[in-house]
Amino acid sequence: MINLRDKGAEIWERQGRLGRVGIALGGLAIAAALPFMGGTILNTPIADYESVLVYPIAMYVLMAIGLNIVIGKSGLLDLGYVAFFAIGAYTMGLLGTKTDLNTWEILPIGIAMAMFSGIILGVPALKLRGDYLAIITLGFGEIVRIVALNLGALGRSEGIINIPTPPAIFGIEYRFDSHRIYYWTLLVLILFAIWMVRRLSVRRAGRAWESIRQDEDAAELLGVPTFKYKVWAFVLGASVGGAAGVFYASKTLFIAPDNFTLQISILILACVVFGGMGNIWGVILGAVILGYLPDRIRFISDARLLVFGLVLVIMMNLRPDGLLPRKKREKAIVKKDAL
């Protein structure tokens, strides 16, 4: 129990290629089958189990993966991640109601908007370090919400209603209540995000981020263009947040500034740290648990958030590196894979 991560890694490394594919497919199958397990112990009282799977769980997972690029990989403390989520959602809300574009067409626009704002914020903010960056990003998150709250075009506090659902693709229809379909679509998005992150972290960019996180000065003095990579991390994180936002708006049909409070940023941050910063599986696990828990314990109604807070304190004290911490252990000296 002490070192789940290493156990997992060991099993993984012992497998041949076939075994690995098997494990991956098995995990995927379980994830895909989750909507059918509503009748079991997993069921959430009061809140609808399948909707909980979509939001918060899958949505949190996606955002936590995105935030993990920023915090876990390159060590930048971003407390305003919700801003990118909001920008994606408002892009969808605005274009979805004012133009004929559909969700799939807006998705890249929303991602681009989020990335663009990532650059706008990142270029001045990333010159700063640590805590200053934290406060600037925190401010940015609030500013986006306040702008939405005060700009007539964004519906002010009334928000935007009647946002269209995605049109059918491959004969799959998206109705507002077909939670499973949304969940599976999100699963695909999540897989794509995982693929992107893994791809990047084994190569150059991953090394550059890792070196920045551990010792930024040394990195720069050894030729890593730190600023460029920090902006990239920020922008990539933003793109994932933006994608989540577009899809979210298209699912709930209605968005308002209240959906994008600082609490979301903090919660997503909690997911990342709780699960294990820098380790994508840990982050996913953290997001699943923190997304799920508040709804699972609804039966204690009044003290719900109190218990949630307690769990955070206890777990952080017991496992400060998160449930599945980043790799601390050296790879077993296995000779190069037969590839």
């Binding site: 700063l128 370090r129 805590d131 200053y132 306040i146 955070l312 952080m316």
Partner: protein, 285 residues
Amino acid sequence: MVYGVLRMINFANSEIFMVGTFATIIIIRDLFKFTQASEPATGARLWLILATALIFSMLVSGVLSMLVEIVAYRRLRRMNSGVLAPLISAIGVSMVLAESVRILTDSRPVASPRAMEKKFIGQFFDAGVRIDNTIIVISALILFAVLITFVNKTRMGKAIRAVSMNPNAARLMGINIDGVVSATFLVGGLMTGAAGFFYVLKYENTASNIGFELGIAAFTAAILGGIGNIKGAFYGGLALGLLETYASFFLGTQWKAVTVFIVLVLILYTRPNGLFGEALTQTRA
């Protein structure tokens, strides 16, 4: 200040502040039996009430702050767990504190009865000077002076500064780190408690959810002035307050936060260490 020593954001501090406001109200309302209809106190009795409330609020917050340190931070600090784990732990503690108080107060805001009449005691340029504000400014200055003396002159103060500069060296010098950190939290809590008292004196209201927003504002002020720099935090708070007032007057209240944010970015961009900051970003190559 706690921040300066431990190099971390104490999210729970705003909730400690919130508890401090309740402590003050308990004294005024329950110990001295004030109601909304009662006449404000005068003379010696007024000073007695104010002093009791201030001390009680400081004590409650100070002790609570120490408890928070023990519950949320101590173990993590011993394990050298970086910045983020304590941060999340502190968020957890904040949630527990805020939600407990919310349940205890039936989710309702609580008002402090008026113990002191808000008299105008003079003119300062064209603005009226009110007694409550005067008391707050004077006591804040006194506390500020005491704090600076404490940190600069006393043994404990020196120990705190030593730990803040280099915990490992401090430990080698035989300083009891746990003790020092506890003391730091105690002092930080005392100050926070005093802030809670001032808040009640001025606004006469509180609720379980006031901590969060105020915490952000306080944190911004600390950043603006320069982290870990008591003087900087003081001026930062002052500057922030002025800025907010002017911004809301000229641009409309709803854009206040936006203005403050932009100014903050500009300041940090030109002076990356805050207005009075020490050089934190200096490379230690």
